[in-house]
Amino acid sequence: MTNTIQSDQAPRISLLGTTGLLFEPPGAMDLHTQRRIWWLARQVEAWPCIKEAVPGMSNLMLVFSAPPRKLDSLEADLLAAWSRAEELHLEGRTVELPVIYGGEYGPHIADVVAHTGLTIEEIVRIHTEPLYTVFALGSHPGYCYLGGMDPRIATPRRKVPVRGLPGGAVSIGGSQTGVSASAGPSGWNTIGHTAMSFFDPQRTPPTLLAPGDMIRFRSERIIK
């Protein structure tokens, strides 16, 4: 196992202590890569030493049921599986989320304005245009990582994470966007708010959305 950054061609495999490992293939953060990640997750989660295979944004975390004594064969199996990975097409549904942008609902929209040089209206127009695909869930119960944000509104994560953001916060972190499912801390820039319940532990599955589902943001109001 090496920690050096490998060439653009080879996937990178790094350790998360003895709890798991992270598999990061090269290439764009797009739907093609993500569909192969979904395929890989389905394969790997059936392997004996794996407790859970967790898709991220064009990467995959493996959590060990027990840490393997030797990692070499697991790494080789992983690389071999990736090389034959196909695009897994998940047929999802589309959910529209009404959003109030700016003001107290989007306390960091000014930072996005400052970083991008765009006006609030332009940012909202660009943010509401695409049909976003749920690439993965993570962060907190029911939270969806979305693919498809226009890189023009990409804004770096905050230098210090903000504590106590409300649920329903629509935010931008780097080249990604998402909606928080409950109140908590975040390092992303909050630009708006939506009212929607994304998680219920009594439901099976407990989440409203699954990888492959789609989200469209609709601007309900812009506060300046």
Binding site: L15, T18, M61, V63, S139, P141, R157, G173, P201
Partner: protein
């Protein structure tokens, strides 16, 4: 049944944690010191994964509403049962209406109060641990409050357990003495905790000088540290170039470095994913040491290898097996 008498904040019901729901965004939760939780359950003859109360702030008081055997593990909270001292890492029968008081800790950060049978709260998504962010699991999905009454699982089997227990109870050697890590002076003073770390994906992206201070300098556990994570303070870690990662899964123990350069160790209530660069991961076998590291004390990171980190898990397992053998002997001697 027990009743929480004090209003001290942030106590919660925890078991070993919630597995298999990371893909839904549900983190593991569970005891910050899983060795203490498991050992407490072994002392009580409970399954290792039974739920107990994790107590991080003191004083803390409970009243026993029935005769029941309890166990205290984790931090040494100078406990008193109706004013009589109870040693740390000890199990003892309590009588109805007795009051157990835990005082500000002399050593360690979190105390675990377990009950014979284990605390009975609903199992949600495979665990009794409190999921604070999701507001489910544990006791009503929240921290404990004054007046809360907690029941135990399997009340019928309890009397048998208490008959098999010596009246004065019995105890075991705490893991900080059985499995010491670091220099003896720091261990004795409890002011510096040594934890072993495996380098993570972005380790090589940091300046040589930063890596040197990462391993050789003290890192203060700031007041902004809790079950979500420990925010550390020390010489800022400087990357060779700007790093922005795609969101990916993380686990308790991962040491993230936000742009401020001050690292954050993600812990049991942490998000199961993140995007900050990762310089290393505190190995699973040492996470319990973090759980007992007090606010405003110092941390030292000790570099280790994967093989050593895997063996370290065996060492923890050996310790718990020793506790199990000892507990068995005490019970046998009563038969």
């Amino acid at each position: 049944m027990i009743e929480i008498l004090s209003a001290t904040a942030l106590s919660s019901v925890q078991d070993l944690g919630r597995d298999g729901y990371l893909r839904y965004g549900v983190g593991t939760s569970g005891a910050m010191d899983r060795v203490a939780l498991a050992a407490g359950n072994i002392l009580l003859d409970n399954p290792e994964n039974s739920a107990a109360i994790e107590i991080p702030f003191f004083p803390f008081e409970v009243r026993f509403l029935e005769d029941i055997v309890f166990a205290l593990t984790g931090a040494d909270a100078a406990a008193e049962l109706d004013g009589r001292p109870v040693p740390p890492w000890w199990t003892l029968p309590a009588r109805k209406d007795q009051v157990l008081r835990l005082n500000p800790t002399e050593r360690g950060a979190r105390c675990y109060l377990g009950l014979a049978g284990g605390i009975d709260v609903p199992v949600v998504l495979g665990s009794r641990s409190t999921q604070l962010r999701g507001e489910f699991g544990g006791y009503c999905g929240r921290n404990l409050r004054q007046g809360d009454v907690l029941r135990t699982v399997q009340p019928a089997e309890r009397s048998e357990g208490s008959e098999r227990l010596p009246a004065a109870g019995f105890g075991v050697e705490p893991p900080e003495f059985a499995l010491p890590q670091g220099d003896p002076e720091s261990i004795a003073q409890g002011t510096r905790t040594f934890v072993r770390v495996l380098p993570a994906a972005e380790y090589d992206c940091y300046e040589e000088a930063s890596l040197e201070s990462f391993w050789s300098k003290d890192w203060k556990i700031t007041m902004q540290s809790d079950r979500y994570g420990y925010r550390l303070e020390g010489e800022a870690l400087v990357p060779k170039h700007t790093l922005e990662q795609r969101s990916h899964g993380i686990v308790p123990g991962v040491i993230q470095v936000p742009p401020s350069g001050q690292p954050i160790i993600q812990l049991r209530d942490a998000q199961p994913s993140g995007g900050y660069p990762k310089i290393g991961t505190v190995i699973e076998a040492d996470l319990w040491r973090l759980g007992q590291a007090e606010l405003c004390t110092q941390l030292r990171f000790v570099q280790t290898t994967y093989d050593e980190a895997v063996s370290a898990l065996d060492t923890v397992r050996d310790y718990l097996n020793k506790v199990r053998r000892l507990a068995g002997l005490y019970r046998l001697s009563r038969r």
